[in-house]
Symmetry: C2
Subunit: 233 residues, 2 copies
């Protein structure tokens, strides 16, 4: 029998195959965790033999790091899209930023609107998957040095993106702060702190706790309380 197994080989362009592998690995990482990114698992996902994955990633650790980097970059772009022309990475690029002009309605958002939308999105249940990924990566970083470096780069990317929005807001006169970097880091600390519970079904948390990101942002940026709720619609 052995009916449904694919018999015919499909020979692809190395670059395309590699991208395909990374995409599959990123999807598995996001949905099931970085420890599920194994040669066998990704090979099965793509209906190829494990040896092929080894061929593109001689060390499995590199694939895991790449999967995390790809997934995290994708999620950041979804949560807080970069404005056209925005320079948000002082470090070597993690990924090529698509250089096409962004849709008009995005470019039209004010810094307050962008920040409000980001904070709204990081409160939803959809954000749990991303929280899980970060916890996963931060823990696995303990043992895998390649991943550790990737995590550091992603941290810088997320902080840089958020910092950019804050700077835009200061420039536009919407925000008031002396140290955009410190505010960005403080916000990320709060979001990380709230996100660690993503794997453990936490009972209802006090409203003051759920509002921490908004409260922190409004306090540190000199916004009237409630501003960000209203801006989020």
């Amino acid at each position: 029998m052995s009916s449904s197994v694919q018999r015919k080989r499909i020979r692809k362009d190395p670059a395309a195959r590699r991208a395909e592998i990374v995409a599959a690995a990123a999807a598995v990482a996001l949905a099931e965790g970085l420890e599920c990114v194994t040669l066998r698992r990704i090979a099965e996902e793509l209906a190829v033999r494990p040896g092929l994955i080894s061929h593109y990633f001689p060390s499995a650790e590199d694939l895991v790091a790449e999967a995390f980097g790809s997934a995290a970059t994708g999620e950041l772009d979804r949560l807080l899209p970069a404005e056209h022309g925005e320079l948000d990475r002082p470090l070597p690029a993690e990924h090529a930023v698509p250089d096409r002009p962004l849709p008009a309605e995005r470019a039209a958002l004010t810094p307050t609107g962008r920040l409000a939308r980001f904070l709204a999105r990081t409160s939803g249940e959809e954000y749990d998957a991303i929280s899980r990924l970060w916890i996963n990566a931060r823990h696995l970083s303990r043992y895998r040095s390649v991943l550790r470096d990737r995590v550091a780069r992603q941290e810088a990317a997320w902080r840089g993106r958020l910092e950019g929005v804050i700077r835009d807001g200061v420039e536009a006169g919407e925000f008031a702060t002396e140290d955009p970097t410190a505010v960005a880091v403080q916000l990320l600390v709060v979001l990380d702190g709230l996100g660690v519970h993503a794997n453990t079904a936490t009972p209802e948390r006090p409203a003051a706790v759920l509002r921490m990101p908004l409260t922190t942002a409004e306090r540190e940026l000199g916004l009237r309380p409630g501003t960000l709720d209203e801006a989020a619609g």
Copy 2:
């Protein structure tokens, strides 16, 4: 040769042996991570055969959960010792709290002093190991349900202990808050948020970020800024 291997069997009281196993597992969990708590590893630690560990813990998952519970309880007692007679766990006891009277100098500390000391200790580098353990447990909870329950119980224990100090302070007129629970959770969120970096060597962080726990506590408890620094000595 096979010189140094232990030949003679040592037969111990089951309760004592079990305690020994848990202690060894907790030490390994704290120092090397929960995934290093394996039958073979703990057996080697105690110079016994792996089968013996299986005998006491038919499911390895139970041992891992027990190791985390033991380590976390021990660290909480070290960071924020329970006052004599303090009732800090509404849930079934995670561990028997030693009922002996505490040293005089500890019992003499005011709530402000206890809180200040706790926050000082959670800032030191010694706290990194505990942060690592929490990240580890929170991530592994994704896959291990027994551990997940233990994490929930420990969260409750830590929150309860902190909440107790806050209530004492309110009662003593040192703190002012309407909702001690919310304050306790907010503090833990900030500490968790700062702790997630324990595995990734983070560059210097802005002073405002490092002071977040103190700032949060002082703000939420109606303390004059600087109070907790001074109380910590």
